[in-house]
Amino acid sequence: MKKPLIRVENLVTRFGDHVVHDGVNLTIYEGEIYGILGGSGSGKTTILRELIMLHEPTAGRVTVLGHDLGGAPRELRQRLRTQWGVLFQFGALFTSLTIAENIAVKLKEYTRISDSLIDDIVATKLEMVGLDLKVASLYPSELSGGMVKRAALARALAMDPRLLFLDEPTSGLDPISAEQFDNLIVQLKNLLGLTIVMVTHDIDSIFTVVDRMAVLGDRKVVAEGSINEVVQVNHPFIRQFFGGNRAMIRRKHGK
C-alpha cells in the first residue's frame, strides 16, 4: 500500500453565505500525479489554496506530509512551506527580479550555501525545465507565456520539494507547448520522485499525465480514482465532461 501524503477529510468552505465545499474527502498518495477536476466555480483552485495554506477552510481536516494544517504553529508552517513548490496559473514570477534571481530567491533566503553553488543549481533547474541559460538574466516581462510557466516551474523546483502543486499548468499554452509541458511534468516526476497535485481541465493532460483524480461537483467529490474508474461514475458533470467530442476521441484511442 502506498503512503498517503495528503488527506482531506470532511472539508467545508464557505464564503459568506456561499458554500463552496460541503464535506470534501480525498487522499493523495506518494509518487502520483493527482488531478483536481471540476466545472468553473466548483472550487478546484480553492482546494489547492487550502492545501498550501493560502486559505483557511471553514471546517474539516487537512493533513499534508503527516501534519494537520489546522492550528499548526508558525514554525511548522514555515518548515512545511520549504517542502513544496507551487506553480501559479500565471507564473507569478516577481517582476522586479531576473529569472535567475526568481529561481534563486528561496535558496538565498533559506539556505547558507555559496553563490557559485546557487548559480549551478539555477543553471541545472533551467536545463531541467528546458529553458536556455540565456534567459537567466532577462526579466519576466521579456518572456513569452510558455517560458514564464517553465521559469515558474524551475522556481518551484529550486529547493527539491517533495510535493509540487500546479494550478492549471497548461492553460494559456498552445497545444504543442502544452504537450511539451505535460511531458516535462511526467519526466520530472519520474526523475525527482515528486508527488504532483494539479488543478486542470485540459482533457489531454487528464488522459496522458494524471494517475488519479478527484472530480468536484455539487460541493463534494463526485468521483475519485483513475480515469477508468472515474468515467464509470454516473454524474451529469462527468457525463458531460468525458462525453464531449474531444474526450470521446481520446477514449477511443486510449491513453
Binding site: 550555501i113 553553488l117 539555477v122 541545472t124 527539491d160
Partner: protein, 388 residues
Amino acid sequence: MPLNSEQTLKIIRTVPAKEGKIFYLSGAWTLSNLPEIEKALKKYREFKHPSYPLILDISGITLIDTAGMLFFLKARETLRNKARRKTDISVRGVGVNEEFLKMFRLIRRYKKERALPKPRPRNPFASFFEAIGRHFFNGIDSAFLFLDFIGRTYATFLRDLLRFSFRIREISNLVKKAGVMALPIIGITTFLIGVVIAFQSAVQLQQYGANIFIVEIVSIAIARELSPIITSIVVAGRSGSSYTAQLGAMKITEELDAMSVMGFDIFHFLILPRSIALIIVLPLLIFFGDIIGIFGGMIVAKYQLGITPISFIDRLYEVFAMRHFYAGIIKGPFFAATIAAIGCFRGLQVTRDTESIGRQTTISVVNSIFMVIIIDAVFSIIFTELGI
C-alpha cells in the same frame, strides 16, 4: 526521496590507506546540510592541496538531492584541478547506493559544462554618464509624448464639443468621487491652515495693537494663495494618483487595448471625463476651502484676540475685495487641468511590469504638485503686473 532537514547529518571520516587517503562521506547530502558539509570538508588540508591520491568513498551517503549532487560534483572537479594528476582523485562506492546513482545520472544529464551568463562588469564612470544621458533623452521623449497626449485630449475635447457628446454620467460620477468625497479632508486641512496662519499673525499683531488686521491677513492669504495651493495638493495626491493607478492597472490587464479594439476612444471615454470632472470640481473645492479656512481664522480671532465673529464678518465685508476671491478661484481650472493631464498621462506610461505602476504614480504626484506651484508662481507674477 524524502528531503528532511531532520535526517542524519554527514560524517566525514578519513583513513590513511596504502594508495592514499580514504574519505568516508556519509549522511544526508541535502540542501540544508550543505553549509556544514562544506565547513567540514574545508578542515582537511588535503582538500586545499591534494598532494597524494585521495579516494572519496560515497557508500555511506544515505540521501542526496540535486543541490547535494551539484556540490559533490563541484568538489570533485576542484580537487581534480588541484591534484597533480587527475587520476589521483577517485570515487568509489561499496554496495552502491541506488539513490546516489540515480541523482548522479540526473545531474549528468542536465548539468552542462556551461555556467550562467554573467552580467558584464560595468565601468562605474561610464555608467554614470550613461545614466545622465539616458535621463536626458528619456526626458525629451516623455516631453514629446506629453505634448502628443495634450494634443489628442484637446482634439477629442473639440470634437466632443462640436457634437456635444460628453459622457455626462461618467463626469458626474467622477465629480462625486473627486469632489464630494474630498470635502472632509479638504475641510480639515484648510481649517488647520486658517488656524495656523491666524495664530502666527495674532502674536505679531497684538504687539502693535493692530488686532483687527487679522481679518485682512487671514482672508487674503487664504483666498488668494493658501486655499488654491493646499486644495490642489490634496487633489493631486488623492485624484491624480488614483487616475494614474487606475489607468495603469487597466493597461496591464489589457483593458485599454480591449476598449480600443471595440472602437471606444480612451480619450473620449476615460481621459476627457476625468479632466472635465477635475476642472469643474477644483474651483468649487477652493471656494469651500476659502470658507473653512477663513472660519478657522475667525475662531482664533475670537479666542486669541477677542474679536467677535460679528465684528470679524463686518470687517471682512469692508476690506475683502472680490478680486482676491477671483484671483484664487481662477487658478482652479488651470491646476485641475494640469493634475488630470499628468495623472492620466502617467497612467498610460505604465508598462507590463507591476513595479512601473508604483513608479509612475510617484512621478505623477510629484510632477503635478511641482507644476501646480510653478503655475501658481506664474499667476502671481501676472497678477502683480496687472495690479490685481
